[in-house]
Point group: C2
């Protein structure tokens, strides 16, 4: 819990750790950010729970409240924490409704957004292909958990997902667990496996439906579909999911905001 500013008092410079080894400037609030991040990563505070008040953290870290405040501000901007005036600061969770649409960008062309139903088709252990291994930073042949599922909007099959998860983390995942769970998959992951998805990269292409997917989505073979390849990351930019989603876009579209 000791941080560099203790030394900084004397030499008036904030440097990481020892205050002399690294030549780069590291602001105090960055160090506080790192400490809070560590608490999140190690599960000291769990999703949905409150972290200590700014005043408490300032005392614990021996810095001013304003410095803690700036650290929390940035973590809140990254959606890792959620501030609630008068109540406290909370660890972000995929249970909150506002989180749902950040990782599901499919919107109906007409009408209001709606939650899809999920139907699991397959759940088994497998070996990582070279592609999956590369994306998840595993070795080819490492154990993975493979899921195949369908998302249905108003009963219409709309998305077919193939999902690959590192076996070391998700060893215990079974069809039973999946089916007993209500809420999003990422909510299940954070509740049952202590792994929170905080960011994802998606690569989107247009491809013709092959025979298998055509059957699942009930469209003719060759129908243009969105092919959405996603790698999702947890704390520390650790990749913990690869999924390939095939999206029907006759009644929905992928919505994105550029800014």
């Amino acid at each position: 819990m000791k941080i560099a500013r203790q030394e900084a008092r004397t030499d008036m410079k904030n440097r990481p750790e020892t205050g002399a080894a690294a030549p780069t400037f590291m602001p105090l609030y960055e160090q506080i950010k790192t400490l809070i991040l560590r608490g999140l990563q190690e599960g000291e505070w769990r999703p949905g729970q409150a972290i200590p008040s700014e005043h408490d953290l300032a005392g614990r870290f021996r810095v001013s409240q304003g410095t803690v405040r700036k650290a929390i501000d940035e973590l809140a901007a990254e959606h890792l924490l959620v501030r609630r005036q008068g109540k406290g600061t909370f660890v972000a969770s995929h249970k909150e409704p506002r989180m749902q649409y950040r990782f599901l960008r499919l919107m109906p062309l007409q009408g209001e957004p709606e939650y899809p139903d999920s139907r699991l088709l397959e759940c088994r252990r497998a070996r990582a292909s070279s592609e999956v291994a590369r994306l998840l930073e595993l070795k080819p042949g490492d154990g993975v958990v493979f899921l195949r599922r369908i998302l249905l909007f108003k009963g219409e099959p709309t998305v077919a997902d193939d999902i690959y998860l590192p076996g070391t983390i998700f060893r215990g995942l079974t069809a039973e667990i999946f089916n007993e769970y209500r809420g999003s998959l990422y909510n299940l992951f954070e509740m049952e496996f202590g792994t929170r998805m905080i960011r994802a990269d998606e690569n989107i292409r247009a491809v013709p439906a092959d025979a298998e997917v055509a059957l699942l989505l009930r469209v003719p073979r060759g129908t243009p579909l969105l092919c959405v390849d996603r790698v999702a990351y947890s704390y520390g930019d650790r990749p913990v999911e690869f999924r390939r989603g095939m999206y029907r876009t006759d009644r929905h579209c992928y919505r994105n905001t550029l800014s």
Copy 2:
């Protein structure tokens, strides 16, 4: 240049304008944000130019530097301003290289990102259809400027864009202006027409290439393409462009980050 906090000194509450009419709380820095935004919108400071220093603005608005700082922080987070330590705060511009890829999400499947060449196929006056009018908040039949262009990566035609612009703003746009310009279209818009795109919403679907687009992109009819419908907004959420882009995704993909 007078703001509500002058009154706030007495009643210790910051309220918009008169300090009594509106029942909602409006922080000082929000009011400063609005004032800076007005300067941007009215062209008091132009893209690429520096705005006054925090110290100057604090004096001008009669608030502390910290309050100006918070206002600028938020505008910088929205990419309307760019801070440069030691130099000043600058109006964001589409001329900066880092801006380019914020509004062009097409990346090569292999290899480094590259800038496309642009080829104008058509530039004419037209009347807004009901769909275009709705999206641009015009009346059906209002004058619009229509552009059709191709983007080529390494000489390969990859994107076909149909672009609709409000006639009132872009009346003077001609093929000559377009062709003489190097740099992005949005750079041209902000330089020649004083209109800066600051945000855009995109709706993405997978569609088969029709005969016309197939010819332009040199693909067989029916080839799956991304259809990207974009509405771009300027200051004050004013829609100022609608474009429909058809993207080949055999060598490129649309890249997106969820967070």
